[in-house]
């Protein structure tokens, strides 16, 4: 069994003089198995994601990339392998940059050259035409902006995509299309997804493994089918019971 691409090893985070935001969180993402991180507001999802993206350091425990600790020197290699998509499509694109410049940013930042073909390929992979590159974010809808954000995330051919509530801000019909896009990208580009979400339906559609976060602790973790089908922890059960269901 190869090393997991990304691993949180007893990660904890506390603000100076404050209560712990994360406590003893351990989770591993293996190639080919999408992982969902489920939790509500205040659970610590955002903080954990920032730590997993290398934007913040845990106050205890460590983050491992390909089996070894994620140090500053390894950060660039890590970023080439792991990119992110964020929640708000109206905030994640710089309104003053063209789409082409936005999508090419990781290539520039990670020293991967400025090959315009890669930008066109990325746009094509998310179903957007090549002339999109010359336009500006305000010309696009929420769903299209999210596609652009995904194009930016895959342009450097990462192995792992960390997606923070990528569809929560979208309409239902658009949500389906973006979830399908993420699923197909996973297959076509051998891309594994770490999905942070409170939407259990989306989680069930996309991820084989699910971890449930409550007040900074992982209360349950395992195969999605098991966690959602036969939850053992009361909080997971409460979450499931709260999801509005269609009449059968």
């Amino acid at each position: 069994m190869t090393d997991p691409i990304l691993e949180a090893d007893h990660v904890g985070f506390t603000y100076r003089g404050g209560a712990p935001v994360l406590e003893d969180v351990s989770l591993a993402v293996h190639q080919g198995r999408n992982v969902a991180l489920v939790g509500e507001s205040g659970a610590g999802k955002t903080t954990l994601l920032r730590i997993l993206l290398g934007l913040a350091r845990p106050t205890s425990g460590l983050v491992k990339f390909d089996g070894s600790p994620l140090t500053r020197t390894r950060l660039r290699d890590y970023r080439r392998a792991a990119q992110a998509v964020f929640q708000d499509p109206y905030s994640s694109l710089d309104p003053r940059h063209t789409i082409g410049r936005i999508v090419a940013e990781p290539l520039r930042g990670l020293g991967l050259g400025t090959d315009r073909d890669r930008v066109t390929d990325a746009l094509d992979a998310v179903g957007l035409p090549a002339d999109t590159a010359g336009r500006y974010p305000h010309e696009f809808s929420g769903g299209q902006r999210q596609r652009i954000a995904i194009a930016r995330a895959v342009v450097c051919d990462p192995r792992l995509l960390l997606a923070d509530e990528p569809v929560s801000a979208l309409d239902l019909t658009t949500r389906v299309r973006i979830v399908d896009l993420l699923a197909s990208l996973g297959v076509e580009r051998d891309l594994t997804i770490l999905l942070v979400s409170h939407d259990l339906g989306v989680v069930a559609e996309l991820c084989q493994q699910t971890a449930v976060l409550e007040h900074g602790r992982l209360v349950e973790q395992g195969d999605t089918a098991a966690v959602l089908g036969a939850p053992s922890h009361p909080y997971t059960r409460k979450l499931l019971a709260s999801v509005p269901r269609l009449p059968s």
Binding site: D171, T173, V176, E205, L246
Partner: protein
Amino acid sequence: MSLLTVDGLSVRDQAGTSLVDDVSFTVEPGDRTGLIGESGSGKSLTALAVTGLLPAGLTASGEIRLGGVDMIRASERRRTAVRGRVASVVFQEPLTALDPLMPAGRQIAGPLHRFQGLRGDALRNAVRAALDEVRLTDTDRIARAYPHQLSGGQRQRVAIAMALACRPELLIADEPTTALDVTVQAEILDLLDRLVATHGTALLFITHDLPVVANVARQAYVLRAGRVVESGPTLDIIERPTDPYTRTLVESARRFDAALGRDRD
């Protein structure tokens, strides 16, 4: 007479673009009706038009009769008399719906004083009773707290308490739980259900979330690009949608619902 009659409502902006196009529906006393639509469907504008609160620059045509008053043509005085007494609204974003500079208790006291003429001790007790009714049991602390000191769910409960303080005949809820966590959403929906049943209030529930509206409204209207594309009993719409857009909407909802259902077997 119906509590609310909307007949051929159209809303245009200054450029002449049609944002709501020939929308018609009725709400009887005690009824629970849903307006289903995604962004751009015109559902929120419809709710604003019904209460006579369309933003400047938009014009409404057609007919809206709320509690017997023509909400499009009546004077502002007559419309204000209808607001609160006949119909009140709960919005999506409790943080912006509440006055950030006023403690919650005072905000609830406002409508209680205005509509029930209460003051002094009677008013204070009524505020406590209102908070109790929405299950905010730590009444003294909540009454003194400012909106930013409360959680999203608590704020929404305060907003509901304010809306119901006037004992309206119709409660219009525009995406009241969309901005809330899923467990909180379940609690708020449950609360709304209980309260409208207790007081016999009619409910106009606006949302894009099909499973939610299925559990809340008996009948529904599906809006797309400002038009009603399908209407009828909610269960019929979900089980036997006839309009292609409605079908897409239902299929999308079924996708995610089924994914959950599969795992629960």
